[in-house]
Amino acid sequence: MTLLDVDTLRKDFPILERSVRGDRRLVYLDSGATSQKPYAVLNAERDFYELHNAAVHRGNHQLAEEATDAYEQARATVAGFIGAAADEVVFTRNATEALNMVAYAFSNATLDGGPDRFTLRPGDEILITEMEHHANLVPWQQVAKRTGATLRWFGVTDDGRLDLDPDLITERTRIVAVTHQSNVLGTINPIARIAQMAHAVGAIVVVDACQSVPHMAVDVGDLGADFVAFSGHKMLGPTGIGCLWGRADLLAEMPPMLTGGSMIEQVFMDHSTFAPPPQRFEAGVPNIAQAVGLDAACRYLDAVGLQAIHDHEVHLTGLAIEGLNDIAGIRIIGPADLVDRGAAVSFVADGVHPHDLGQVLDDSGVAVRVGHHCAWPLHRRFSIPATTRASFYLYNDEDDVADLLAGTRRALEFFA
């Protein structure tokens, strides 16, 4: 059962034509780290530079108009992709910057006597989870350190699900920061339910959607969060472009992280006033060509269909889990079933370190990620230093899963 015409799709991705380590077929199973790019995205970026390149929101020549239109069209396209209004979409460098933007809003407001919604006091609590990527963990540690707020977290169960202890959400909870889908476990978290619990106590909900927005239909209205961050490069777009979506009423009050050109309303020698969102959060000349590339990526994903992509990935994930479970000495870290589970499959092998396993897979042409995947506390939770992670996307097929399994068997034999 293959729901996508993968053979046709693969022709859109030139990199998949190349071989690696001599004449091995490239089996790219590291889309959780970054995705490959279709011609549509590469051409959009190239066309922008060839035909329309200019700085946006400044200058009144024709190229400046065209560049500004293309950039703002990209914002509208991305907004449509996640069911948002265009002026609620802030372009950032990546998801890490987007999450830091929210974290710094709290730090800055607290230190500067800023708006009450973004001000933290000692005793206030920031609630995160043990399965966060460092990008949605370290910034909150820093906020807690600067403001005197207390950091707390939901634990993770043995089967890789969030342990949603309702007692952790209290009147003291001001921020709940949680990943939509774990980049290690593949677990998809019940954001709507968490948001409901958080909103009942007046907390602001920040969601890291890096691993969900590229792989399934995400509508920020349905999600129920207040801020949603994601990266362009994990969803077929270029590097250097990411997004922060925020509720209009919150963005309107939110102080900026970076200040300077483009984000101002009026500037005097001793003070300045700031532009309304989203410009307030886009200081300096932005990554315009990359935004245009992301526009093309969203259109490409929409044309293929997010539901079909998700179903296809779940199918491959099922095959991978089944195949890995059949290999003696392999243990999957994460849910064993396919319920609320995305296409990241992490595992450990008895007697073979992930670095060595990854090396043998690489020698077989299979590109996976090894290490702690920027989720060190999560690995500590499972008492392991590292895992091997295969992550699937629309251009992977059943042959890729077969090569992963064959390479894994080869590694176990080699180090036996």
Binding site: H353, P354, H355, Q359, V360, V370, W376, H379, P385
Partner: protein, 148 residues
Amino acid sequence: MNMETLYQEIILDHYRHPRGKGLREPFEAEVHHVNPSCGDEITLRVQVDEGVIQDISYDATGCSISQAATSVMYEQLVGQPLDQVWPVVEEFVRLIEGRGKVEPNEDVLGDGIAFAGVASFPARVKCALLGWMAFKDATLQALGKDFT
């Protein structure tokens, strides 16, 4: 550069049967080093007496390359006077960081030349050097100098 070139028999042997592993006393300095990219860790102790490396003892988690490199280091350096130890450390680092373009010096490195293949895999350089850098740090501390 293929996998068999990387995983020399000597490396696999040291990985399966690490020499000198375990933490022992006495020791003059103890360090803890990590490889932030993969989470591998080593705790390493050095005992220096009268200008001679009397013991290197260690407890480590890591891949075959990092485990074997530390084991080979133990064999190469324990019992050696300091003035003969530093050239070995220097030569090993030069080989590993040489991007595969450095001709290994067997006279200086002994079994250490088995790691020549590592230099062609940039992602594994830190693995091979984890134990060696910990040793350098610990020894300099034992001698009352800062690790640089």
